[in-house]
Symmetry: C2
Subunit: 231 residues, 2 copies
């Protein structure tokens, strides 16, 4: 029961070193600058795998544009998405030598990447870089802790409400959010089926809490009521 078909073609844009720096004045940039590590750009097509579970962790990535999902699978194909990574987000950061989740591009995606070993070397001589690495991992941990509460204890409606508020915060532009992921992805993130996600969204639409301009273009009409039902 594989939940995603992987595109057979792994066409990749030619790495462009010294690419113009995108407008992210973030930790990744800071680290890259501090450490003198050169960041390379790279692109992945929709549905393309970026790295697999248990593969050697050679690079650390930052999303420039597009969206990435990281997930774990059970032997029978049940999938749990741990996080969605949107422009600006760093992923693949792992002090272990192997990745613990699979990463795939949800849409056509461009990333910046640096060698993990370069980063660790930089951390070995620059405590600021080391601190940044720790902070970023801790930030992932905080998200995971919140998500465990959601997965273990929230109802379907509460989960979807939480999801909408998270996505609103992270990718809303002009009061509107354009979800890059399908209903199945949302379900696999929230520990639900795609049908349950769809029903919850329809219910919120019926209640006037949100409005669709298309299935993935959503406007939140009442964030307060959404926050209330988030428990």
């Amino acid at each position: 029961m594989l939940t995603q078909t992987i595109s057979a073609t792994t066409t990749k844009v030619a790495p462009a070193c010294h690419a113009q720096t995108p407008p992210f004045a973030d930790q990744f940039s800071v680290i890259a600058r501090c450490s003198g590590v050169v960041a390379t750009e790279f692109s992945y097509k929709k549905e393309e795998e970026i790295y697999g579970e248990d593969e050697p962790a050679e690079y650390v990535y930052q999303v420039i544009r597009g969206a990435v999902r990281t997930y774990k699978l059970l032997s029978d194909g049940r999938r749990q998405i741990g996080a969605f990574h949107l422009p600006g987000d760093v992923f693949g950061l792992d002090p272990d030598s192997t990745h613990r989740l699979t990463a795939e591009a949800i849409t056509d995606t461009t990333v910046r990447l640096v060698k993990r070993r370069s980063l660790e070397a930089a951390a070995g001589s620059n405590v600021q870089v080391a601190h940044h690495l720790w902070t970023m991992t801790a930030s992932d941990l905080r998200h995971a802790e919140d998500h465990m509460l959601l997965l273990g204890r929230k109802t379907a409606l509460e989960r979807v409400a939480t999801f909408l508020l998270e996505m609103d915060r992270r990718l809303a532009k002009a009061g509107m959010m354009a979800l890059p992921m399908c209903r199945r992805d949302i379900g696999d993130y929230l520990g639900l089926t795609l049908e349950t996600v769809s029903r919850a969204l329809s219910q919120l639409n019926d209640q006037g809490i949100l409005a669709f301009s298309s299935a993935r273009q959503i406007v939140l009409r009442n964030r307060q009521r959404l926050a209330d039902m988030d428990a």
Copy 2:
């Protein structure tokens, strides 16, 4: 619907500086030694709170003996335990200035503790300490990622099987494990009710996969079948 009654008395053993070093040749000891930070011992009674969610994170702890649960609550009292901390485990490590979960002693518990600020100061001048801090946080993150898969996608029986294997690995002595926590704690860790946990354990007992010498004293009779049902 509070799931735990907190003992009103907060009797604490007088802090004993320069206490004899327990036999943990672990990261915590290494760090304490590297950084020259003095570790203090402290004891908590059964059910006593060690720190609360959103309290300032003043200390980092290591369990010497006993057991600790860390959890989050929803407004109506639903609880998600993120982890159980057993002798040797470090908890409360958080680069944020406040704790994100509540920590409580499950049984009478003794911990070593160091000031978080001392640790961070040490990390600022010693890259090995900084690396250790990162590694420990990453280890918590790995556990959380595995647990998200459990909470989002595993059946009740699979969750209990996973739990038993985890506890067997972490606290089995002479083929027997003595669980410090009650069925409700297990349920709140696995995203189940205490009744469902009890039924799953009874079923595994009926199938001869485990045996009870008392409700919390369990012998695993067939780890392979347990691992198989863990999915």
